[in-house]
Assembly symmetry: D2
Homo-oligomer: 401 residues x 4
């Protein structure tokens, strides 16, 4: 078809009440098959309750199925998670589950991974516009005095969110105001966008002095770095800030990872240089692998991997010649309520970790931190020992066919 | 449980030939249920052929099901994709499908999105170590002369990969050598790691002069930025470099996006400032949303979203007062063969786009580029028009319950 | 000379009391001429009082002379600087002074540049090491309670510095603690390093509980970004955070800059894209040019240009079709006391601005902010109008010789 | 003075032929004194030949004098620099010269620093605008065939510059074209801007097919990162790419730096983490200090410190327990002809290094690389040993007065 002729548009059928009944989903899938000539049998064979999807997806036609494996045991010594866990991982990358499993067993033999949550919040960064830099400065000076009123306005929209503080970042004659919230067990973006909208409206209505009055605002400035990598994430504030670490005796490093602690430090040192050469944000072996597999399995917002995979892995040789390994994850956006967490396989996977429902988000964050630590150990060791290629030959898709 | 008592480890059962038969998968799932007390009914009800999973996952226990919606119609005017498409999107983020759909309809009414692939390659970045900076310099000087031999060694391991060139990046007494490949329709990491390993071995064996001999190497230096965001990705070389753009008349911008072209440029301008303030890599409204939903649906390596979401969106007002919008995606790592592309729902979703199997990766890249463009239009407009919160009220999870 | 033979070292003569008397400086210069065969007549003809150099330089042999030009008039409407200024600029880059002058005249005709200081501080970022991530977490939890004691210890070493707050950034089993100070009119690094050392010692002595005791610390972690560019500087805290802006009527833009406001916005838009493509930190036309010329003239620590040149320029077209231009400088490290500010030409240049001595650093910061704004206007216009090459033909070194 | 009253502007006197005669400079200085009330005696006592300043500065009123110290001996084992050198350093930061001197003596005792130049070029990055992404793609495809013609056009403007290659970076419907040049012993920006302007005009005149014709261009896109820090600089192309390194026996590390090689690696490791946490570009202890002091002394364009200070320092412990230290400087923009290199003290300082005039830029680059290596050793050791504060107490401005 030429680009010059505009086709008559065949819109996706909207259906009654947006079409979430099973037969409506089936009809829409059939319509899609008809338009495209494709057969969507597997897509149509999901077991999730389609009526439950309202608020999670539009124009549903079925499900995507991703293979799910299990890795463990992983001993986690956290303030919220304390015990042995088996992590569900949804992936199609061969060797990934085996790699995480290896790190988990090594960690567990060493007594487990210690995990801690430092900060637990999420943020929206609206930007306010002023006539000139003087007005903007006056606004920023006056804002702290209005905090309690703005908080009241923002929190009036939510039962769970708590506005913790406001941070001003001037940029010429505009001021970006970070609204920082505690969001409980939810990832919370919808919640806090709504709250922030209310806060912004309060500001617009009540800042009446012309010397400091904003002319307008946008609810997003881009600064909050939702679903993207940025240096700003290093300081935290977009999800849970989690640190996980473990002391691993040299003998266990050798037994499970087939290298010495010194070799682990050496691979850290030299791949760090590669990260700096590439101007990467943060440093990790492959956070994105583990995060993606956990997020798909556990019904998280998978696009948050873009921010959650920003962090820093560290390997150190201790004075006694052992290995101390850690991961620092400033932006782990995880939830146990809301979003996709209640749907079929997601709810089951969260239940498998003892993390389904209210009160479990910090626990989930600690377990995920420990899991990523396991993955870093295994990946670092595979490169250091030269076994990486062989492992992917064995478990990946390089087999002769 | 105290961190001082090491539990007796309950390893995940390995089973005969790694356990990919359906009954073995069921048994492993039952074992998992027993260990954790969770019921995994939905996990166990997948329709994929488990025997096919070898090379994609280990320790399988079932599937994760993600709701799948359909968005379109999307007219793409590419060199590989030319026609109208409906894009499958797997997500649990309410409003996402509706948002992309809106952008697609707008683009299609405007005659469609033009898409182009600039570069099509993938790379591995091993690092070689030398006695001193003089030896390293001599090695880098001599390497170009050995290119044909290294290429022969690398390509001997693969039927599809082609070594295009080598690039040297010195770093003190080490030299990172980027091996740049054409990988056909595969994402190709396994393929080119194996090829690069062969190339590195050739170098180690044949660089015998002591004045330029490497002492050792690591197959990865971290510089290639696989599954992470980095500035280096901007120059391309990690997947397809795709540009998609469209000229949209002001009347259509108003009709579908509810804003003027000038308002779109204004939101671009001010959210760009927020990105710069946050020290983000690249600029986009929400590439990660669309990428993740497409990658899960189409059996891509979802962790590659970490690199694929690096790119730059641009909105400009034309001299005639219309909108020109574009996305530039330097690192779109997509495949139509290998990885998870052949599995059940993935194969069906690729088929739905006419992209299943060999010869279709550039087509898929163009369609995905156009899809992301649709998403950028819709997101930018939602913020500019102030409709963002309302849209998420309507389609997201903020409904009173 | 071969690298294998180690020469007998000819050390630079140390002399009595480090040798700051004029005749000692002359003798050292003569010794240098003898070693190298160079004639150092200009170097030896400085008029500064060499005895005054103790604390500023070691092994002195004379002076470097840099040509000094004057640019103005520049009307500044600040909270500290209010009036017309002429800025001394030391440079050898042809066209630089003329370019800044053009922007200044344009700004002044438009009523001047408004300038504001948002934040005024400097910081040191020591890192503390712990046995494990649990101990580190406990330390970070307990630290706020010790703030007053740490402040007392830190401030005991300085008459001017004030410890404003402590910020903890965990990184595995280490914690970086940012010590944030007000440093008065000094750049203050020496002052606050000494104060922070005292604060760190207090922490080491008084954190006696084994559950949160640091094992050791380094006074620098690199995080404070002294004399280097980083994303972290965007949030401020390394010097004065200054914003300067101006509303410039379209007629003046045309008259002085030879372009329209729309053309200025267009050049901003497209060179911003180039910055993002290059993964630059911040955005500016040429902050480093103005900063370097001002810093050399005014006896600032010129190496601080590396951090001070991080910032963001913005050009906007107003509703009335005029130009609003601004610069945002989060890390302007300037001083009017200490360092090289009291020496000969530096003191004279500061006096020329009414900024010599105590009480004038914020004023100097505002004037410098306005100067950089002038430079951004002129540079942006030169590129937009296509006059850049001609200007450098006229004033630069491309003349036929 | 209120911001509402526009003062009558007192412009700086222009004078006959721009006023470079000594009496004109004196008159302009007297005028400045009159306007500001400041006495500019030291400013007026420079010994440089003011007539020579044409092309280096406008509105001259005298000179800035910066104290100049000497550090050495420094043994350099380069391909261009081979011997012992004493480096002139212009600074007012106490302890800087002593610090570099310490590192130099240590290096020299160890047999010297090996230095190598990898790449020697500079670049301009114009951006071309097209009707749509299709036209832009066609342009980029066709450009390589026109290289020889473009080169001829560009090189017709310069006796020294050589156009090495063109690199296309698409960005929506625009294409940034990097013009990469060899510039001989000059920094070369003026030279290559002029050449690139000629190349761009050739492109505009000769690209007549509407399917690939640019509508317009800007001579700068910002991508070349002149005088700013960016990730793009890591790949080189903006000045000389220089690596310097040295093997230093443990005994010499201890004797001169008062630490062990392991302690040097430890401080590297932990300050690297601080750099990554701050999202810095590259890693160094204090490149900007040495670069600034050398650039002021040697008449370089000091604003280039902004790009030149991007690089990577590395410390490694060798198998024999010694230290291997290196610096990698991808963007060392140095010159021995043009700019300020011929003026009085600059020419003398270059002569002191045997680097004045044609043919010496690579030599200067190697010496500067070795100097920065010395500074990194000394700074790293000062932090690792805990002597940093004491050194600044002794040599800096913290003395009781």
């Amino acid at each position: 078809m030429s680009s010059n002729t505009i086709p008559p548009l065949k819109l996706v059928p909207r259906m009654h009440e947006q079409g979430y009944q099973k037969n409506q989903v089936d009809a829409r899938r059939a319509w899609t098959e008809e338009q495209t000539g494709a057969r969507l049998a597997h897509v149509g064979s999901g077991t999730l309750d389609t009526e439950q999807w309202r608020g999670n997806i539009e124009n549903p036609i079925g499900v995507a199925q991703t293979p799910l494996g299990i890795a463990g045991p992983l001993q986690v010594n956290g303030e919220h998670a304390d015990g042995v866990f088996y992590m569900p991982l949804a992936t199609t990358e061969g060797a990934l589950v085996r790699s995480y499993e290896r790190g988990m067993v090594c960690l567990t033999r060493a007594g487990g991974a210690t995990a801690r949550v430092y900060q637990d919040e999420n943020r929206i960064s609206p930007v306010f516009f002023f006539e000139n830099v003087g007005t903007a400065r006056a606004f920023a000076r006056a804002l702290p005095a209005a905090f309690e009123d703005i908080r009241a306005a923002a929190e009036s929209t939510t039962g769970h969110g708590r506005l913790l503080r406001l941070e001003c970042h001037p940029l010429g004659r505009q001021v970006i105001v970070n609204f920082c919230y505690y969001t409980g067990d939810a990832q919370g973006m919808n919640m806090i966008v709504k709250a922030t909208e209310a806060g912004c409206r309060w500001i617009m209505e009540h800042t009446t002095e012309s010397s400091q009055r904003p002319q307008r605002y946008y609810i997003f400035s881009g600064m909050n770095s939702e679903k993207r990598a940025s240096g700003f994430l290093m300081a935290g504030g977009k999800g849970k800030k989690v640190v996980a670490g473990a002391h691993i005796p040299a003998a266990l490093v050798q037994a499970y990872l087939h290298v010495t602690p010194a070799a682990m430090v050496d691979i850290w040192h030299h791949t760090m240089l590669g990260h700096v050469q590439a101007n990467a944000i943060g440093y990790s072996g492959h956070y994105a692998n583990g995060l993606t597999a956990m997020f798909i399995a556990c019904g998280q917002d998978v696009a948050n991997v873009a921010n959650a995979c920003v962090g820093i892995t560290n390997f150190e040789e201790t004075e006694s010649g052992d290995l101390y390994a850690s991961v620092t994850l400033p932006s782990l956006t995880v939830a146990t309520v809301g979003g996709g967490t209640a749907l079929g396989t997601s709810r089951e996977c969260l239940a498998l970790l003892g993390c389904s429902g209210s009160g479990h988000a910090p626990k989930l964050a600690e377990i995920m931190g420990a899991t990523l630590l396991a993955g870093e150990l295994s990946m670092g060791a595979a490169i250091a020992s030269g076994e990486f290629v062989d492992a992917h030959e064995t478990y990946g898709r390089n087999r002769p066919q």
